[in-house]
């Protein structure tokens, strides 16, 4: 924690939040919201939450703002000025916000001071995680160890949440399962051939490095910030980049929607399957240490480490596929023909 940064970043964050809800132009609101997410990433880094910051970096810069832009592209950009009758809503909103605010503020009086090393949260459970991570799992990144092993069950459902989100977007918007519609050329003639060749060349050079980096992030999650989720988002973002710089169809030639859905299901199956394998081998669900009986030349502790790597790969699969699916459906309004 660095309090000088903390103070400034939080102040800037509040400004950004206020601006993004009061701007009348949704495109600008989405862009300013992107700035808000940069600031949040900085805030979390400064408080030492590097993994959270990494996730926010990948999500905020890579996908969520693009989702917003794509949604604005297919709907209205302008927020209509209110003619009448919103006063009551504003009043209700203000009163509710004020009530909740006062309620929460009254609780802060009992909280331990910020960053107090003797707060209950710091002395009760976390010492176990900090001291036992290396002896029990041989993974230096404590967050990865807690994420994938101590509380691995949460993470399995977190991956399922992502899977559900992708499936939900498909179910609401998608034409998936129907015959793919014929490709309609854009009325303005803006398709792959009309893109700037500077952008296309740059992206063509860039995307392999991005994917390589993403694989590194997945594989090196045990030793540095990162892991399946962050790597998966970056992988997904690389496909989104192809779709934006060329055309949705060019991207879909690399990763078909059907294949992406298969990957998504497969990813969670890898995760839950490793858990179920432990069950079949006679241990509790997700107790990776039993895997040493089938993995050659490992101790139970190293088996935990390998088990975590396995589930991280599963997470990366799902997240990558689902980010692509959400983008394809939101950007093409479910038609999967041409994107943003």
């Amino acid at each position: 924690m660095i309090w000088q940064f903390d103070l400034l970043i939080l102040a800037l964050g509040v400004l950004c939040a206020l601006a993004s809800i009061s701007l009348k132009d949704l495109l600008s609101a989405a862009i300013v919201f992107g700035a808000y997410s940069f600031l949040m990433c900085l805030l979390w880094t400064e408080m030492g939450a590097v993994d959270v910051a990494f996730t926010e970096a990948a999500v905020g810069a890579g996908v969520s703002t693009v989702f917003f832009l794509a949604a604005v592209y297919h709907t209205n950009r302008a927020v209509k000025p209110r003619r009448r009758g919103r006063l009551l809503h504003k009043l209700v909103g203000l009163v509710t916000a004020a009530c909740i605010g006062l309620l929460l503020l009254s609780a802060t009086a009992d909280f331990p001071t910020w960053a107090d090393p003797n707060s209950p949260a710091s002395v009760y459970l976390s010492p176990f995680y900090i001291t036992e991570t290396i002896p029990q799992t041989a993974v230096p990144n404590i967050v990865t160890a807690v994420l994938a092993d101590f509380r691995g069950f949460d993470t399995m459902f977190e991956t399922s949440v992502i899977f559900v989100a992708g499936l939900a977007v498909l179910a609401i918007l998608g034409s998936y399962g129907r015959r793919q519609r014929d490709y309609e050329p854009s009325p303005t003639g803006q398709d792959a051939a009309h893109q700037s060749s500077i952008v296309q060349t740059a992206c063509r050079v860039f995307v392999p490095f991005m994917q390589l980096f993403a694989l590194y992030v997945v594989a090196h999650g045990h030793h540095s910030p990162g892991g399946g989720f962050q790597g998966g988002v970056i992988l997904g973002a690389s496909f989104i980049l192809v779709a934006i710089s060329y055309d949705l169809r060019v991207m879909q030639r690399r990763l078909r929607e059907r294949l992406a859905m298969l990957f998504a299901g497969l990813g969670v199956l890898i995760y839950a399957g490793i858990g179920a394998l432990c069950l079949v081998l006679g241990a509790n669900f997700l107790d990776y240490s039993i895997l040493h009986t089938i993995l050659p030349a490992t101790s139970p502790i190293m088996a935990r480490s390998h088990g975590m790597l396995g589930v991280e790969i599963g997470v990366a699969f799902t997240v990558m596929a689902i980010m692509v699916i959400i983008y394809v459906n939101v950007a093409s309004h479910g038609k999967s023909d041409r994107g943003l």
Binding site: I2, Q4, F5, L8, I9, L12, L15, C16, A19, S22, L23, K24, D25, L27, S28, I31, V32, G34, A35, F38, L39, C41, L42, T45, E46, G48, V50, A53, F54, A57, A58, A61, G62, T65, V66, L69, V72, Y73, R77, A78, P81, S186, T188, Q190, V199, C203, F206, M210, F213, V217, H220, S224, P225, Q230, I234, A237, I240, L241, I244, L340
Partner: protein
């Protein structure tokens, strides 16, 4: 040395505030886009500075790298938007609403 980095970071953050002015007020969406891009670049630098302050910069390089890799996707996406909808600055789209009648 820490004080030097803290001072540098604070200066960058104050500059970010100035950029944010353009991002919030900026008459056209392109102004905002540029401003947010600059904020993104500053973020990359600040991440490294925070890494220096934690005395463990190699752990922070990955995050900064992710930003460097991903930061421009939004820019390209927005440019695509303008390629299709060629209205950079519809009138009446500030934080304040002027001239409502002039809109289409």
């Amino acid at each position: 040395m820490d004080n030097f980095f803290i001072a540098g970071g604070v200066i960058l953050l104050v500059l970010m505030l100035l950029t944010l002015y353009r991002a919030i007020i900026g008459p056209t969406a392109i102004d905002r886009l540029m401003a947010v891009n600059v904020i993104g670049t500053k973020t990359t630098v600040l991440l490294i500075i925070i890494g220096m302050l934690f005395n463990w910069v190699e752990m922070f390089v990955d995050i900064a790298l992710a930003y460097a890799l991903l930061n421009f996707i939004v820019t390209i996406a927005t440019s695509r938007y303008f390629q299709h909808h060629k209205n950079l600055c519809p009138i009446g789209f500030g934080i304040r609403h002027r001239k409502e009648g002039a809109r289409k």
